[in-house]
Amino acid sequence: MTAPLLEIAGLRVALPAGSDRAHAVDGIALDVRANEVLCVVGESGSGKSLTAHAVMGLVPKGLAVAGSIRFEGRELLGMAEAERRRLRGSRMAMIFQEPMAALNPVMRIGDQIAEVFRFHGRPDRDGSRTLALLDAVGLPDPALIRHARPFQLSGGQRQRAMIAMALALDPVLLIADEPTTALDVTTQAQILDLLRAIQAARSMAVMLITHDIGVVREMAHRVAVMQEGRVVETGPAADVLGRPQHAYTQRLLAAVPKLQPRPDRSAELGATVLEGRGLAKTYAGRAGLFRPGRRVAAVAGVDLSLRRGEALGIVGESGSGKSTLARMVVRLVDADAGTLTLAGVDGNLLALRGRRLGPVRRRVQMVFQDPWGSLNPRRRVHEIVAQGLLAHGMDRRQARARVDELLALVALDPSSAERFPNEFSGGQRQRIGLARALALEPELLVADEPVSALDVSVQAQVLDLIADIQRKLQLAVLFITHDLRVASQVCDRIAVMRRGEVVEAGPSAEVLFRPRHEYTRLLLASVPGRGVGEETGSA
């Protein structure tokens, strides 16, 4: 075995005084060998990203870095900045989570790549190397795309362009910091394929930072698991994923949602609560003086029905119209066409306005995606949870008692009531959001990506809680998600949306294991880590 390409030993990155812990990265040791993919996996705040940045020398000013990082036998810490700059790009390169933020928005793609060549003293005069790179990362029509600006490309194409830039000078080490987190699942599968092909073709070392065990299964030769700034377990992928030794790794693996449909509960379901026909919404951009307005059919004729106690999952990629559909149902967005009937309400729910809408609102409540944006930072938890009760005329003392019940229902400590949202973690905030939604005793709960911003271990807890409460209260739930694995855990039925239309709908087990539509099959095939060393989900 040859000496490792990159050796990290005793690396510490101190956090500013007054942070929740002294070191973001606390004495870790890692090495990356030539021609291997090392996946560094961990939840948010584990220090995985900062480790990657420390290798590149991109740690924010003011954070002290100590220890040793040796690259090709040379010590990087304490190296002159000019020398480090020479190494960056030429011997080691990095790609980031958000390619739009990492690319210069006003510069053509080809020029940005040519810049890399120029800065390192190897100008690409005839542009042939740039073209070859764009071709190598699978961008269509390189001759045209080199003249495009970043905003003209899709997310996946931008990430490909970033990879092309990173590969420009044939680095021996590529650091990829959550390279597919911002992408749709089908695009993610393509980018991972590309990274794998490039790594093999160039015998490059890749250090891949991710929070997604599925991505680790797809990519890793070796795995390092990080928790709170420490590496808790490291080893060959098969060992770490197959026979995890550390308790944290075991917990992390157990929490990963599996493609496993919920048991059939059709016997428990009640009468139809919600019935929608031909729901449609078209967004029209403002027409300019010299250009016609752009029209996008976000939702184009969707039918749905939900029974009491049933959970319907709406699954789709970004732009599929699933969120617009949810917002139409809760009446945050006005529909253009369609009828929606709620049991016990006369007429079309979509046509109710003003005073007639008010009393109906409490019967349909929503849980939001972003745990940080969905709670007013200036209000105490009990005010947040009770806002609907007070608005509907309950007196303060009664409302306060009800808040305590609700907090108990979502498994939060009663003392939480007096605190402000910023004192809670993401998972706890989603529980508060859930308590708020349940306060008015709705019959229908619309959950718009309620767990997609959470770490997997927390995600599992919140999903369990939602499923549990749903069963207890016999709630009808409309569950919006991009993640088929999440949908399979909580939903009785699944509808798959693409470009505003439902392409396939049916009981979860049918959709997941006997998909009829090719798009559903593509989505399923793109789920990362599916069937790799995992028994379930390979059916």
């Binding site: 705040g45 929503m366 609907g388 608005a391 306060a439």
Partner: protein
């Protein structure tokens, strides 16, 4: 880090706050230290600063020091009260425009722009002249010309906050629009408005001085602007008549600006230490 800690780290802001406190002390102590009417003749006219009058006397033998003390009352009063009015008008217009959007927004913003297209000082002069000079008309004039920027700021804050999930959650909970605007959104939009308001106090003091300089001040109350205006005829013989009130305006306005900067640093989240790792 608490608000006070980050505020106190800015030395300019601390100095500004100290000066402002001193000016406030001048205003509060004026009726006790100079219990006579500052318009009264107290001795020989045009005495230079020295034994009889600490800061000299004007052409009618009035005490300049007493004028400065009593003038502080007028300046601070007008600065604070007209800012409060301007902020209230601006926030209401901006909040309604930003929250409801659409036609309401268009109407409110055209109305705001109407005020912004008229040169503000000319409008203030016109208003005071029409309303007859007095404390109330000066306050009205200054508020009327200074609210539009507040409205624009409040509108942009409301536009950004309007579609945050916590506001939508309040809508779904059945909370009324009025309560959402003032209870949910406004507290989150207040920081930049407070910073802007602190700087508007300084502008209001300057505007009042300029109006008084032109003889449009309240004829019953002495103010720093009036004192400079009255002194311009004898500027070459009696420098102290315009220099001391001028210094008072300069120091007060500078102090308010420093405090405003300090508030900005202390309240602005972008300047705050990032807590996310």
């Amino acid at each position: 880090m608490s608000f006070w800690q980050s505020f106190l780290r800015n030395r300019g802001a601390v100095a500004g706050l100290a000066v402002l406190a001193a000016v406030l002390l001048l205003a509060l102590s004026a009726p006790f230290l100079f219990s006579f009417d500052p318009w009264d003749t107290r001795g020989a006219p045009l005495q230079p600063p020295g034994e009889g009058f600490a800061l000299g006397s004007d052409m009618l033998g009035r005490d300049v020091l007493a004028g400065i003390f009593h003038g502080a009352r007028v300046s601070l009063f007008i600065g604070v009260v007209s800012t409060v009015f301007a902020v209230v008008i601006g926030v209401v217009v901006g909040a309604v425009a930003g929250y409801f959007g659409g036609l309401v927004d268009d109407v409110a913003m055209r109305f705001t722009e109407f005020f912004q297209t008229i040169p503000s000082f000319v409008l203030a002069v016109l208003l005071v002249a029409i309303l007859t000079p007095g404390l109330a008309s000066i306050v009205i004039a200054i508020s009327v010309v200074t609210w539009p920027p507040v409205a624009r700021l409040a509108r942009s804050e409301f536009l950004a906050l309007r579609h945050r999930a916590f506001v939508e959650a309040a809508v779904l909970s059945g909370v009324s629009h009025i309560r959402i605007i003032f209870g949910e959104v406004l507290p989150n939009a207040l920081t930049p408005i407070v910073i802007m308001a602190s700087l508007m106090v300084a502008t209001a003091i300057l505007t009042e001085s300029a109006l008084s300089f032109l003889g449009l001040g309240d004829p019953n109350r002495i103010s720093w602007g009036y004192m400079i205006g009255a002194a311009r005829a004898v500027f070459r013989h009696a420098w102290w008549l315009s220099v001391f009130p001028g210094l008072a305006i300069f120091v007060t306005v500078l102090a308010i600006n420093l405090v405003g900067e300090g508030l900005n640093d202390a309240l602005n989240p972008h300047m705050r230490r990032r807590t996310d790792p």
